[in-house]
Symmetry: C3
Subunit: 464 residues, 3 copies
């Protein structure tokens, strides 16, 4: 491998990343500070309670993104180190970049930016979009390309989120539209623009082994367990948050079982596909985000979970190959099946729930439709009439359109940028391999002087 | 493997599972709703506090069951995917099934079932019994059989739990008797009825490798860390919960060290057995459940932890082989050693603690025996006289007898049902193998066209 | 391996460990009890709130030490079981030993020791020092040696911590000086005294494989995620704790990115070294401990995180080989780079922050320098003048000196003790191998009777 004629990315990655850290330091030095410490005891208690009510959720989300999502991506057997590391690097880079942009954009006119846990959380949510989008092009891109992609995606996301939540007043407490749909079509746009040739032959290192599937499955389970925290963290404390947690648990549970059913039925001998399991079981978490805190009956959460898992598995089986053939679209992790289709389903469901809920409760005095997402305060608490509900349902649809439109456009443009030769996209034959990015001391390849063949064979046997 | 004459389970699993999901949807649509949203601010705060005080414990328990227990079962080197997936599937199925049954049985006469986090938690506890019982027959059964087993076990468990906690008033906050003893003997009953031939020859795929032992060890560590949450979640907040956490921590710590001591002493060259470690370290958590919140001195928790680990390791070394020879009893994971023996020990300890505590404190005015389990409210808070204590101690013994009786009987009957040919029990030679249930693309078996022998050898070397 | 002339540790380990458990039981029986249960409802609420505010942090720290640190140490490909198990055993042993010593020393004059979660936490912090120190000699020592080392290190640590926090009043809420610096130099001292020959040739089993690097990386990520809990658990609830969490998050994020930058720049072809990544990303957590709750601007946390990662990676690249050559110092895990250098940096930073903060705020009426560590209450809340700040800064320096002095001395003495032949240090050629301490059933080595060569080859292929 040392004799490869392929020119390595060399110094571009560390230098630009180092420059970014320097800029970040400068930005923080000039503009960012902490909240004034609370002067009174009551305020201190308030801060303490806020920490105790937010921090456990925050930690759960960190585990999801750093450990869970990282492990989920290790299904490529020889790309585990890279998948984990790039995921980790991108999370940190994107979060810092989102902090900078949000600081500049939203808070600059107030002078100093006052950092708190909530702002970090919002930046982390922005970073999630990058981590999802990357799934479409996993293993075929250099870290340089991924960082450029993150640099482009974060501002587009922030703009899109601002339009969707603040201008349109869309209700989406779990990020179904703003995060999942957006990141899916951004990733697909990048993939389409970057791999125009498309439909590349199956790479030998692309096939998961039982062992890499196992690691990926563990990642899925970690994501599955902590997903309720992801959906509920921004809900209003109290009933809405309680309901969001329950709805998410029900939806996740239903999608786990439906995935097994669907995946078994698709195969002639009823065998399960690990890939279906790794993705379908999470579809319920994607679909429930937009409706988790709304006043709908529990059965709706179960039904949505089942339906989303069904859609996801069918998407893997039929839609992904079709898109590959017709549109020459590469989608390495199948993000369209896990984030795209269930996201659209969730957006549609939110419109329906809003319409139905308003009819159910009109004229009833104990109606308690409380569609207050933590990030849609202007409509919170208000009771909708029939007309208000129709308008809100339309807004949900408009939000979906905005998310899909901006992300596709942004993704296509970003993909075009990623083709720059200086970003050192690895050639096809070197894809999916850790040894391109990591200094790996391969025992088998470099036998020590003096080792006989017999020792080598013994070592081989012992290592297994 | 494709030419195997063995008839695969085919469509039975997905069809029946799909039918179950449909029935669940119907049940939820007709009978289940959420609590009325709280109308007042104070109530909302109450709900919020309840969420913050229960949800972290709930998440910990989810991690234990989904990730920890799943990984613990991956000690079979070629059965990891199946162990993780079946555990995950059974957890979801059993939880939903317990929700349905509890809804029908306990709450039907109140009309609508109001779902909340506490009810989900209770259902999850019911599901735990299935996950433990399965350990006895791990790797030798089809998913169909496991689902039928869960279908039978949950109602028997609910009945047994109702008798033990509500009729007998047994104190068992951590489920030592109701969960661990019950599930152990249910599993052994199933194993006995299902594998009458017994004493099957050691299967070549049954032997753990260092790598699968490592994964299983990680699972044990996850269970070990979060066990205090499992024991303390149903305790009354305040002193009882605090004491339950401390007692569990002490017992777990003592059993970790005692396991190393005992396992080392049993081997001629003082080597540790990974299997002993994976199980013995958890015995302290099993034993402490029945007494965790009682007013006993800390030394009792340490002593019980040590004693249970000793029993568990000795059980692995001497009792399991004996049971195998004399009763032809198969116990794949050794659940009798981890859940049965320490469970009985814990039940006995609870009787002793009740008797001793009542004597210690009789006549003393500052006595504070507070045996209030979250699920034994009728005796809570009351001070026992000597007589009351004797009666309660007898109840504990009666509870143990009920748990063992119902579970053994239920298990034997269930095991007989599992022999139905349509449930597709895998033949001996196909046991312990993921490829029976998973679509695994085995690189080594299917060399791509054009690959030379040299490339294959290189791939082999590189993969190691 | 069975014919090895090397005399195994035999019965010393289990017997002494068993003796220790017996002594512990006796100690607990005589001296330890629980707090009196609270008589009034308000007190019960207070206890409940204390549990809810401490227990999640405590669980996070348990995950870090048991799972995260354990996995981090599995980078030695054939020593994973031992690394995980020894870490687990040492944690439990050291915690119990610290409980005993603290009970005897600090509380004996009050009669009964009242156990609570806080005391367990403090003992756990003491145990951390042992787990870190062991990194210097990982893989080359027997469990007996490790237990003797823990036995010696805990009292030295408790004495050193008492001097640093109580006599000198050093501010160090995250244990930068008391834990990280101390444990690093203790470990180096042991290593120096134990391996006088030093500079041993590279052992063939010492080289990580991609797979063991992956497991170790997962361990790093778990530590990375939960580190804020470790730093903030002893902070005063409210602003100080909030600030400690934010500062730690910022420092960890900066060190993650700086590690990638530095490690890439050091290699000619910009490849990353997994070892750098596994350690450098955590350096930010080490450095921030001493200043996390101080009133410094967020940029300082970012800068410290970056600087510590830079120091750590440079240490791995240049200092460790240099120390190996010049001082014949073995440092298997590079604890000097992860705990020593960033720890010293953090201590220096704490002095600077104290000096700068006192100047910044002198004469300003809204100054809120609140340097109240949970363990330095005597200076808490007080406003420093210039003079007070200088004195406090000097104390920080003195604390660093005390930590380094006592630990080096204690380590050298302990290392000398570890050379006792009865402790059964493994010979060089048997190092880094699980099979020395675990009963491993190696499939490859013991082919079953009747298996043909072909089957063996197939098994070999399938296992890969």
């Amino acid at each position: 491998m040392g004799t490869s004629p392929f020119t390595r990315p060399c110094r571009l990655l560390p230098l630009s990343l180092g420059l970014f850290q320097g800029t970040l330091l400068l930005f923080f030095a000039l503009f960012v500070t902490y909240d004034e410490p609370s002067a009174q005891v009551e305020d201190a208690n308030l801060v303490a309670n806020k920490v105790y009510s937010t921090f456990p959720f925050f930690q759960d989300i960190q585990v999801m993104l750093v450990v869970g999502l990282g492990l989920l991506l290790t299904f490529l057997p020889r790309y585990g180190l890279s998948a984990l590391t790039h995921n980790f690097l991108l999370l940190n880079f994107s979060m810092q970049w989102a902090l900078v942009l949000q600081g500049l954009l939203h808070h600059f006119h107030h002078g100093q930016v006052q950092l708190d846990l909530h702002k970090l959380l919002i930046s982390e949510f922005a970073a999630v979009t990058v981590l999802i989008s990357v799934g479409a092009i996993l293993g075929r891109t250099s870290p340089c390309q991924l960082l450029v992609m993150a640099t482009c995606e974060i501002p587009v996301y922030l703009a899109s989120e601002w339009v969707i939540l603040n201008c349109l007043g869309v209700l989406d407490v779990g990020g179904t539209i703003t995060i999942h749909v957006f990141s899916c079509y951004f990733g697909l746009g990048v993939s389409k623009a970057l791999f125009r040739a498309g439909q590349q032959p199956l790479h030998p290192k692309e096939t998961p082994t039982p062992r890499s599937d196992l690691m990926s499955l563990v990642g899925m389970l970690i994501l599955w367990v902590f997903w309720p925290s992801f959906v509920a963290v921004l809900c209003q404390p109290g009933d809405a948050q309680h309901r969001a947690i329950l709805n998410t648990l029900l939806a996740m549970s239903a999608s786990a079982i439906t995935t097994v059913v669907t995946s078994s039925l698709l195969e002639r001998d009823s065998k399960l596909s690990p890939g279906h399991l790794q993705n379908g079981s999470l579809a319920g978490g994607v679909v429930i985000g937009a409706v988790a805190d709304m006043a709908m009956p529990p059965v709706a959460a179960l039904a949505l979970g089942s339906l989303s898992a069904l859609t996801c598995v069918l998407g893997f089986r039929f839609l992904t190959p079709l898109l590959g053939r017709k549109l020459s679209l590469l989608d390495q992790c199948g993000i369209h099946n896990l984030h795209g289709l269930p996201g659209i389903l969730g957006a549609a469901a939110s419109a329906v729930v809003i319409l139905v809920a308003s009819k159910d409760t009109s004229g009833s005095h104990f109606s308690q439709l409380s569609p207050t997402g933590g990030n849609a305060s202007e409509v919170g608490g208000e009771q909708w009439g029939d007309q208000g509900a129709s308008r809100q349902a339309l807004c949900q649809a408009a939000g979906l359109a905005v998310a899909m439109g901006t992300s596709l456009l942004g993704g296509l443009l970003t993909g075009a940028v990623l083709q720059l030769p200086c970003l050192a996209q690895p050639p096809q034959r070197l894809c999916f391999d850790d040894s391109l990015y990591f200094k790996i001391q391969d025992q088998a390849e470099t036998p020590r002087p003096g080792s006989t063949t017999e020792e080598g064979a013994l070592a081989l046997k012992e290592q297994i």
